[in-house]
Amino acid sequence: MRHDRARSRTVRTEYEDIEFENNAQRLPLVLCLDTSSSMSGPPIQTLNEALREWARELHDDVSLSHSVDVAVVTFGQQGVSTWKGSRQLPPQSPDSPFVPAHAFRPPQLFAEGVTLMTEALELAMWIVSARKTELRRSGLQYYRPQICLVTDGLPTDGTGHLTDNWKRVVPVLAAEQQARHFRLYAIGVGGITPRGEEVLQAFAPKFNARLNGFPFRQLLQMMSASATAEQKGAGDEVFEKIFSQFKTQRPAWES
């Protein structure tokens, strides 16, 4: 068999000369991460380590590495920021924050500042919409984007005071999810309060969870499992199963 394979390569060299366009189907994936001061210490360290590990796993996946485009939005230090891989983009930057997974280098995040969760979600929705426009203009096909919101707190205003301004985004998110413009996962970690959990339930009625500790690694693996299911054309029930297994913190999606 080894002999045949070697021979076939030499016999059919014409296939090696085929020119392909760089037109893989794209899967936009936005990580919308809480980096406010409550995340300082071990939580932000765990998040940074999990991002590094996840980046390595993405690189190793032949399919995800060429189809997933990763963008990172943080809310905390300096308000709301977008990251193009490891590089923080200046506010109002025209540069797209999406990076192909095979080229994704995770940012080194620091925990500081307030919890502008509403503004971060709005920014995440905006960059997803802009990315779709860009892909359509380029004639590229795409899968349904995924946004993953991760927080350990409650939305605040720019001065750090609790606010109800998150309610303004609830009907927008509901309409966007109803129209299948993206899948939103809203995950509460660490010491998130029941009120914080209510906010996440309002954002993502189907895909919300409150997890013990800071299981960022499992969370990012769940995002990869969801991306893989999307590529397979899985039905909603598959995403619900993946998420439900994730919520119980069992890596059962590997089964």
Partner: protein, 289 residues
Amino acid sequence: MDRHDGRDRHDGRDAHDRRDAHDRRDGPAQSAWRIHGMSVEGYRHRRDGIPCQDAWHSAVVGPPDAAVVVLAVADGAGSRPHSGQGARFAVQLATSHFGQRAEVRPQSADAVHALLLDAFKDVREEFVSRTDGDPDDFAATLTVVVLAPTWLGHLSVGDGFVVLRSGAEGGERLFHLLPQPDAVSEYSNETVFLTSPDAEHWVHTECVCDEGIDGVLLSTDGLTQAALSRSAGRPRGANASFASAVLRSLDAPGPDPHADDLALAELLRSDRLTAFNADDKTLLRAVRP
């Protein structure tokens, strides 16, 4: 499931170890076309040990002096439990029913369109009636080409596609992507299946009268990114480099058919094609001198 007089061809992919296609190039004498089909499992299915859910089938019908070739490819819906079986059943029904309908020798393009739609209804009816339980569990796309002496008919439901080779410009052969059905969704992994309730509304048919056609390529969506060229907005076109290479290798096969199959399978399973699309891949080709 061989039928007629043994001129019928199918991939027989039920056995998991028969992953490569069977060679078709010593085709029946009644047809001027040399035919070769291959389905390979995609990266995901390979990794998870799931068999290929694509299928292809070909048949030659009619009298020797007016033989008609029917080519069909199908892509089983990834989310359905029996879609691989559905894809195999769909292509077998398609070659049978389209072959029978084509024997009436239509005299106009309108008659060809009508024939294609009638054959599709036959296929759908038998598919639904003969699948046990919920036909949606067997959901598959279906793309069919009928090669008659004076016309080419094309019918597609879902996101399969067909590229024709005909004519030349400046010494370079020209490749033409046949129009595809409208997209049903903004997302590339959502499509219409043979079993979809409104499938007949999404069916697209074409009749082409061009005696210069000497190469035909059918594929499921797993090769869309490799075989087609993108452009800002529709219509897309054929990637001439890909179509040219895979048709040329059937025009001038090597001395060892098995080695040719391995080379094609290697291309279809290659990392560079997987990077574009991790789905199962099917390539059904027909060429004539």
